[in-house]
């Protein structure tokens, strides 16, 4: 059970991310991602959208799998820059590291 936190998208702006809610969950990023790892990066983006901080912190390791190849940024139909969001989430995780 996750409680929605609508403030989280604003919180992420501090980490350089302002397109969290641009994503419409099509899954193109997960399909093109060379990692072929579960639903990466789509699932992380979704957690960011609904403000599921705990889920992001629990699964922080996934964020460091990203190869920065940029394919998801190139193919995203909403130009939501999924790769950049992953980078921003890393900054968020580091910032929350000791508190987590």
């Amino acid at each position: 059970m996750t409680l929605v936190n609508p403030e989280f998208a604003e919180e992420l702006e501090k980490f350089g991310i302002d397109k969290t809610l641009d994503c419409f969950n099509c899954g193109t990023c997960a399909a093109i991602c060379p990692l072929i790892y579960e639903h990466f990066p789509r699932k992380m983006i979704r957690y960011a959208q609904i403000g599921a901080k705990d889920r992001i912190l629990e699964n922080y390791e996934d964020l460091w799998r990203c190869l920065h190849c940029g394919l998801c940024i190139e193919t995203c139909p909403r130009e939501a820059d999924p790769g950049d969001l992953i980078l921003g989430l890393r900054r968020f995780v580091i910032d929350n590291w000791r508190r987590a």
């Binding site: 996750t2 929605v4 609508p6 419409f24 969950n25 609904i50």
Partner: protein, 644 residues
């Protein structure tokens, strides 16, 4: 002399030409067309049997025209697809060859044979059907479509946006119009909106552009508080009775109160009510009759009313419908600008909007009423309306968060996908649910001071359960047709299983119903947005102008005909007649004696044949479909010589 020859030729009916179509294999893959042709050659009267890959093609039609022109044949049978597809095609070919289009008979050997039977059985059935058609064709007489005068007058029922549009368009074509509106006000549901998607136009501006044009047009007479009471007649000559009376106690109470409070005069727009015509609200009831050439139904829709408890509606005061929210948004605009939307002085920090309420209902999942079918259709307009409202709120009240719960987003029209994109830019958070896992609205006993908690199994989060605390829950209710069962009954028109009125052809004749002279405009037919409703209304107006513009209408000649040599005036036919007034007993002089005999009014006769079935003297027949012809057909169907 020439005319006499021709008459002799066309009444003889001894030279039947039969043309069998392969339909590019659709027929000939299962029916042995060559064998059918062989079998048909033995049918009495058949002088020519030919076949073609596509009879409907130009070369196919040429075959018929050639045989007619050189006098080889004088009756035509085409065996092909369903007559609804190409009967008219072949009648026209006969006309072009100088023949009477009614010397034609159609045999359906595709839908009734090759698509449902195979092998020898298919060939045998095809042979029998074609033989029967040939036998019937022998008895065909040339007929003339007859003309009746048509009044250049139309009646529009319903004074919403579609009714107003249709009335004005008709008046612009010089057709006199009576507009009948049930409520005291013009404008319908459009008058109850605020800014409308996708353009953001003010709904009141739309009404105020159209309503004064209607009210000021001398060719349009508007009756409000009016209900249709009777209907008779036929295209070009309908007679419609209606009654105007002051609203009953409780009816339109809020609207009338708002009108008085607003101090607005007739012709002026009253927000969320509409426009009162100059006649105001009638004090006494009055009966009216109008002679009219055509009727346009613009009876509109009503928003779905959620059941008590459906998403908490009726149980929690914080659960409202989208039309209610739209009113709140408009009323808030009059207040000081505020970062947070306020409802009854309460700060609304989060709104949960739920799509598809009362639309796309699924048997077994959604609760069913005994007296009402489930609304299985998509109401089409709600997705865009919800997103438009969400954007307005986010843009004016940035501290009010919005959660959008959808099954599918269907923002299908021009400028509507942009609403969905804008909603994302405006940071609306979307959740997606399956019909069987609809969001549950409950009292919030958890965190924050939000009164409600919406729980959903969110497919966007891979089926995880998500909870959203909400200060307001908005239900995007769908559209239901207004209940017009009285008109449906009176006018003998069809409604679909969804209770929306049914057009005669969904693609090629989308604004006409099966009864000639009655047309559809707007949301009585299907969920439409304002632009689509006006497009349908203008379409109906054009069709009406075309129908009435010539001053006469042509009617099918397939009507009953009395053989005065046989009629004994028993009156059995008059009793059996289903169309009041189509058959009467009249006095006439025969052999110096005054007797009563049956007489047909061809304008009202629908050609149903109920009279033919009951006449003890076999004195009445439907033209083109006589008893004798039926007997000939049956003889052929059972004849030994046709067997394959």
């Amino acid at each position: 002399m020439e005319d006499e020859d021709k008459a002799k030729e066309t009444t003889s009916g001894q030279k039947v030409g039969v043309y069998v179509c392969h339909c590019g294999g659709n027929i000939s893959d299962h029916v042995d067309v060559g064998k059918v042709c062989e079998n048909i050659k033995n049918v009495p009267g058949v002088v020519s049997v030919r076949n073609n890959m596509f009879m409907c093609s130009d070369p196919g039609q040429e075959m018929i025209m050639e045989d007619l022109k050189n006098g080889t044949i004088d009756r035509v049978v085409v065996a092909s697809c369903a007559p609804s597809l190409h009967e008219t095609t072949f009648r026209n070919a006969i006309s072009r060859a100088g023949g009477n289009p009614y010397i034609y008979e159609h045999a359906n050997i595709r839908e009734q044979v090759s698509w449902v039977h195979h092998g020898d059985n298919a060939t045998e059935k095809a042979s029998r059907l074609v033989a029967a058609a040939a036998a019937k064709a022998k008895g065909l007489q040339p007929l003339e479509a007859f003309r009746v005068d048509a009044r250049k007058h139309a009646t529009v029922i319903g004074g919403g946006i579609a009714g107003l549009r249709a009335a004005k368009d008709l008046a612009d074509r010089g057709i006199e119009v009576v507009l009948i509106e049930k409520s005291p006000f013009l404008g319908g549901w459009t008058a109850k909106w605020d800014h409308v998607f996708p353009t953001g136009d003010n709904a009141s501006d739309l009404i105020m552009e159209l309503a004064p044009q209607v009210l000021n047009d001398p060719t349009i007479t508007v009756y409000n508080c009016a209900r249709v009471t009777s209907f008779e007649g036929f295209v070009g000559n309908f007679k419609l009775g209606f009654k105007t009376q002051s609203p009953e106690k409780g009816e339109y109470e809020d609207e009338i109160k708002k009108m008085i409070e607003s101090g607005k005069k007739p012709g002026e727009f009253i927000p969320f009510v509409g426009v009162s015509p100059s006649s105001g609200i009638p004090d006494a009831s009055e009966e009216h009759t109008v002679q009219t050439g055509a009727i346009i139904l613009a009876t509109g829709f009503r928003p779905y009313t959620p059941r008590t408890g459906e998403f908490g509606y009726g149980k929690f005061q914080e659960v409202i419908t989208l039309p209610e929210l739209i009113r709140i948004i408009a009323e808030n605009r009059e207040n000081e600008p505020d970062d947070t939307l306020k409802v009854n002085g309460r700060d609304i920090k989060s709104i949960a909007m739920i799509h598809c309420v009362g639309s796309r209902q699924i048997p077994g999942i959604h609760e069913e009423d005994e007296d009402k079918p489930l609304n299985q259709y998509c109401s089409r307009t709600c997705c865009s309306a919800v997103l438009h409202a969400a954007n307005m709120i986010r843009e004016t009240h940035p501290k009010t968060h919005i959660y959008d719960f959808y099954r599918d987003i269907r923002t299908y029209g021009r400028g509507q996908e942009e609403l969905y994109e804008d909603a994302s830019k405006n940071k609306v958070v979307f959740f997606r649910f399956e019909a069987q896992d609809s969001p549950v609205v409950a009292k919030n006993s958890g965190p924050g001071d939000h009164p409600l908690l919406v729980t959903v199994k969110d497919t966007l989060t891979f089926g995880e359960e998500i909870q959203a605390p909400a200060d307001l829950v908005v239900l995007a209710v769908g559209m239901e047709p207004n209940n017009v069962s009285d008109l449906v009954e009176m006018m003998k028109i069809s409604e679909g299983v969804d209770k929306f009125l049914l057009e005669v052809h969904p693609k090629l004749r989308p604004v006409e119903v099966a009864v000639s002279g009655i047309l559809l405009a707007g949301t009585c037919q299907a969920p439409f947005d304002i632009g689509e409703a006006c497009a349908a209304a203008s379409g109906a107006a054009v069709k009406t102008s075309a129908l009435l513009g010539r001053g006469y209408v042509e009617l099918d000649p397939f009507v009953a005909e009395v053989d005065l040599n046989k009629c004994k005036g028993t009156g059995a036919c008059v009793e059996a007649c289903l169309n009041k007034g189509a058959l009467t007993l009249v006095e006439m002089e025969i052999n110096g004696e005054t007797v009563k005999r049956a007489q047909v009014n061809p304008a009202t006769c629908s050609g149903c044949g109920a009279c033919t079935a009951v006449c003890p003297e076999r004195a009445i027949n439907v033209k083109g479909w006589t008893l004798k012809q039926y007997e000939d057909m049956v003889d052929m169907i059972v004849a030994d010589r046709i067997a394959a």
